[in-house]
């Protein structure tokens, strides 16, 4: 039963991550392999504040969101000058630089040893300590994320994002400040990803840089791609599939290391398969065609 709750909590964390990156990738068409960086910054900010300042959970979460949002803006701004594939490379660079900072700035982040002993969150006097408690907390944040995303994509703002995804020139000619939208969408996506990081940090109570690598970014992107970019529920489906499927491997009795490899092979393989036969994933609307930039 505990195990089932653990899986559900993980699914919840990945739903938050995939729905948030979907806003950037699926709705605005900006492929980014930097999401684990936002996830990691969120986790580390909350953990550091909890460990050294002993500040309350909600304050830590707010700070994590803000700082991650700032990093989001830093990643979003180059998207104004750098196009499609080159921009993906730029996000790779941000991801690796962020990991480098988390891994090497030992005095701040503990380096490869990580940050152990993150206390349990206390919200309005209630301490969250059990799996059920964490599941409820993650569930609330998931619901919030889905609601916010739903409002965004159904609004005229969301309509502009979809326009930018296909043809920025059309959007500019229609009077939309495309640059502002792009940066804003990164800020939001990064901020929400930070929430997932905060959840992870408090739940596992120990974080280290290896949870926030390039591979993790690729995993998050795979969730959105397989579930379906540009749809509200696609990322949710993707999160369920990509978290549950590898867990089923445990029941076959494979040794842990092999299971870990197989898990990655599954999503690597699915990524290739979907790109070849169904780039828009299960439920998606966007098939990574890239933007119109004809002369």
């Amino acid at each position: 039963m505990e195990y089932l709750l653990h899986i559900l909590i993980l699914i919840g964390i990945y739903v938050i991550l995939s729905v948030s990156i979907n806003l950037i990738v699926g709705y605005t068409g900006l492929l980014s392999i930097a999401h684990a960086a936002f996830y990691g910054v969120g986790a580390y900010v909350a953990a550091l504040m909890a460990l050294s300042l002993h500040s309350p959970f909600l304050v830590n979460t707010a700070c994590a969101v803000v700082l991650s949002g700032v990093l989001g803006a830093l990643v979003g701004i180059p998207s104004l000058r750098i196009r499609d594939d080159y921009f993906v490379i730029a996000t790779f660079a941000f991801q690796i630089i962020t990991f480098s900072v988390l891994n090497n700035w030992v005095s701040l982040t503990g380096g490869p040893m990580g940050l152990p002993g993150i206390p349990q969150p206390t919200i309005f006097g209630l301490q969250v300590s059990s799996h059920v408690g964490f599941l409820l907390l993650v569930g609330v944040f998931c619901a919030l994320t889905l609601w916010v995303t739903h409002r965004i994509v159904r609004s005229p703002f969301g309509r502009v994002l979809k326009a930018i995804r296909e043809d920025e020139v059309f959007a500019q000619a229609a009077g939309k400040n495309v640059a502002a939208y792009k940066v804003l969408v990164f800020v939001i996506g990064a901020g929400v990803a930070a929430v997932a990081g905060v959840m992870y940090a408090y739940y596992i109570s120990f974080i280290d840089p290896t949870s926030f690598t390039v591979m993790e970014s690729i995993f998050i992107i795979s969730i959105v791609i397989i579930g379906g970019a540009g749809s509200l529920w696609g990322p949710v489906v993707g999160a369920v599939v990509l978290v549950v499927l590898p867990e089923l491997l445990r029941f076959i009795g494979l040794p842990n290391a092999v299971a870990a490899n197989l898990r990655q092979m599954i999503y690597g393989g699915l990524l290739v398969a979907f790109m070849m036969w169904r780039p828009r994933g299960f439920l998606g609307e966007y098939a990574f065609q890239g933007k119109e930039a004809r002369g």
Partner: protein, 253 residues
Amino acid sequence: MSDTVLNVNNLSKSFDGIRALADFSCELRQGEVLGLIGPNGAGKTTLFNVVTGFIAPDEGGKVLIEGSDVTGLASYKLANRGIARTFQDLRLIRQLSVLDNVLLSFRDQPGERLWNAFFQWRKTRQREAANRREATRLLEEAGLAEKANDPAENLSYGQQKLLSLVCCLAAKAEVLLLDEPVAGIAPEMREKILAIIRDLPAQGKSVILIEHDLDAVMQTCDRVVFMDAGAKISEGTPEEVRSDPKVIEAYID
């Protein structure tokens, strides 16, 4: 004496040593349909790109809208200043519906600001509803109403060109820059679009029209400018320009 709504003065633009615009000047008067003609590569689309802010002119050129200098302003800002345009290679958001394309073209939508989408629900919803009604009306007048919820890519080429004109109308722009609005479409749709264009001055709008179809230009334009190699070669009424020896010479070359 009619006012000038748009002035371009001494515009020059070079790309890698090729002069796309060579000290080009002209004006668009209130309520007129101005035709812009010339051979391929004459600089007509480049002129549109400079006027609408997609390309910055070289030093010294100026673009004025009703007397204000707007040279070098970003394209989206110019689009909010009462200018709307279509593109030679037909830009639409094909994945979205016909109606969505029109809705996108409305300017000043409160719902496009994220703050309003969350904290000013009523204002956002009201304006969106009003825009929807207006968009539907425009589509009905254009004869595209039954396709309103279809993705734009399902329209025929001619219908798509009509749609991009409707998008300009939704913008409530005073100045419309139309880049080959009837090129490559069937006669029936061609007549329909030209009729809409001819009617625009009556609605207080002014139009610059790029076209290769000289009959269309003759029927629709009050004045014509002939361009070649980035420079203005001739200017006047359609008949005057057509019979101008310099124009005839340029076409033979």
